[in-house]
Amino acid sequence: MTQTSSFEESLAALEAKVEELSRGDVPLDRALAAFEEGVALYRRCQEILARAEQRVMKLEEASGALSETPLESE
């Protein structure tokens, strides 16, 4: 998992860890690793949601080129 991984990716990975833990045939080492990774993924999801602030950009065309400029929050 990288710093830039999105909420969607982190959530999917967290769901996969829960799924992995519910399989009976996982070796203990692997189960503990999955658990640790799951906790880290949970924190990451929570952090992404907590820190999110809406960004609004406006698409403008000037002399044939498109540019995006940030808009003030309302």
């Binding site: 909420f7 967290l14 640790e36 924190r43 698409l59 995006e68």
Partner: protein, 411 residues
């Protein structure tokens, strides 16, 4: 002869005749330089509609008392969005100019839209039928919306309530999504082109597009019945959600869009997930994660005694020591996780860890301790968990004893 009649004097008395070309040029310049005649908006009924082989369309616009020639050049004719016929009530925008070859004042039309209920309805039905026959309304063409869009494109007018409403809903529900606003004209003859351009500009930069407009009259909403715009929506590489007017208004774009929303706010609700539900979902996952880890450890613990029967004492010790260390690590991790559920999970796991620790040097058996299990191999830790007459397995140095409970004192 009188000396006054010099050749220079003649023009002063008898004006030199202009050529027709010169005169029409003056007329044309006069028309072009008048600010009232550039980009006019005219309403009238069409007549003498004639399309040339080259693709230009000539016609007249008239009302009860007057008539004016009009020309729609090929490029503009192509982007008309409906087929022009005689006797249609239309609103046209264009520039007044002089067609010098015939000395005729004409409007060079840039954009045109039907006006009046009859014309609207006829044009609407024509476009609808054509696109339906091509299969552009088929349910199979509709694409699912992305579950977690990173960027949402919003094509609508820049000012006004629509943009505000959409931003507010997206901010409340799912602030993770960035909003990219592509401003466009949303009414008038030039709106279809403007909307198409905005859609073309935004579609490669977002995961989903909302095409929206607030409520208005039939004429106000007409641009969303434009055939060219409908085709652009159908060809858009990302899903499009339409939200035009009020719930009762239906436009051609609504038929082509991947999803039709009753209002712009509803469109915003549809394109993003709800962060409140997401938070609840990840909390549930965290609890589930702890629960399954706990259950897994318990099952393994139960199996340990049986494992001990089969493994060599030194291998068993090593294995137990490793597992105990691992459980302590996870215990430490959970300690910093905080929330109550995780704490419970940690306590449970620390208990398991302590039991593992106690067990791990199987050598304690050498000092006279024994491990007592039920007949099925599950470890027995409390006297009240076993009844009189039940079978026991007692692991002690040198082997396992099979015993039966003959009496019990609970302390």
């Amino acid at each position: 002869m009188d000396a006054i009649l010099t050749s220079e004097a003649v023009p002063a008395l008898v004006p030199r005749a202009m050529s027709v070309t010169e005169l029409t040029r003056i007329l044309r310049d006069t028309l072009r330089s008048n600010p009232l005649l550039g980009r006019v908006l005219v309403r009238g009924e069409t007549g003498n509609v004639q399309a040339t082989a080259a693709g230009h369309v000539f016609f007249t616009l008239k009302d009860a008392n007057a008539e004016i020639a009009c020309v729609l050049f090929r490029e503009d004719a192509r982007s008309l969005g409906f087929s022009l016929g005689d006797g249609m009530e239309v609103v046209a925008s264009g520039d007044v100019d002089l067609y010098a070859r015939r000395g005729e004042v004409q409007i060079v039309i840039r954009a045109l839209s039907p006006a009046g209920v009859g014309a609207f309805w006829a044009a609407f039905q024509r476009t609808r039928r054509a696109l339906q026959e091509e299969g552009l309304f088929d349910g199979a063409r509709k694409r699912p919306l992305p579950a977690f869009p990173k960027r949402v494109g919003v094509v609508t007018s820049e000012g006004g309530a629509v943009v505000h409403d959409i931003r507010a809903v997206l901010r409340r529900r799912y602030p993770l999504a960035e909003v990219l606003l592509a401003p466009a004209l949303v009414q008038g003859p030039e709106a279809p082109t403007s909307l198409r351009n905005a859609l073309a500009a935004v579609q490669g930069r977002v995961d989903v597009v909302i095409l929206a407009r607030g409520g208005g009259s039939l004429e106000d909403l007409w641009c969303f019945n434009d055939e060219g715009l409908a085709r652009a929506v159908a060809a858009c590489p990302v899903p499009v959600v339409s939200a035009v007017g009020h719930e009762t208004d239906v436009t051609i774009v609504d038929f082509v869009a991947d999803l039709r929303a009753p209002t712009p706010s509803a469109a915003a609700e549809l394109v993003v997930p709800d962060a409140v539900q997401l938070r609840a979902h990840i909390e549930a996952l965290r609890i589930e994660l702890g629960r399954r880890m706990r259950d897994g450890l318990r099952e393994r613990w139960t199996g340990l005694a049986a494992l001990g029967e089969r493994t060599s004492p030194s291998g068993y010790r090593r294995e137990l020591a490793n597992q105990a260390a691992r459980v302590r690590t996870v215990g430490g991790l959970l300690l910093s996780a905080g929330p109550r559920e995780i704490l419970r999970c940690r306590e449970r796991m620390e208990a398991v860890g302590r039991r593992l620790d106690a067990l791990s040097p199987l050598a304690t058996l050498d000092r006279g301790y024994a491990i007592v299990a039920r007949g099925d191999g599950r470890l027995l830790t409390r006297a009240e968990d076993i009844s009189l007459g039940e079978a026991l397995r007692v692991r002690i140095r040198g082997g396992t004893l099979h015993a039966r409970v003959e009496g019990k004192e609970v302390t």
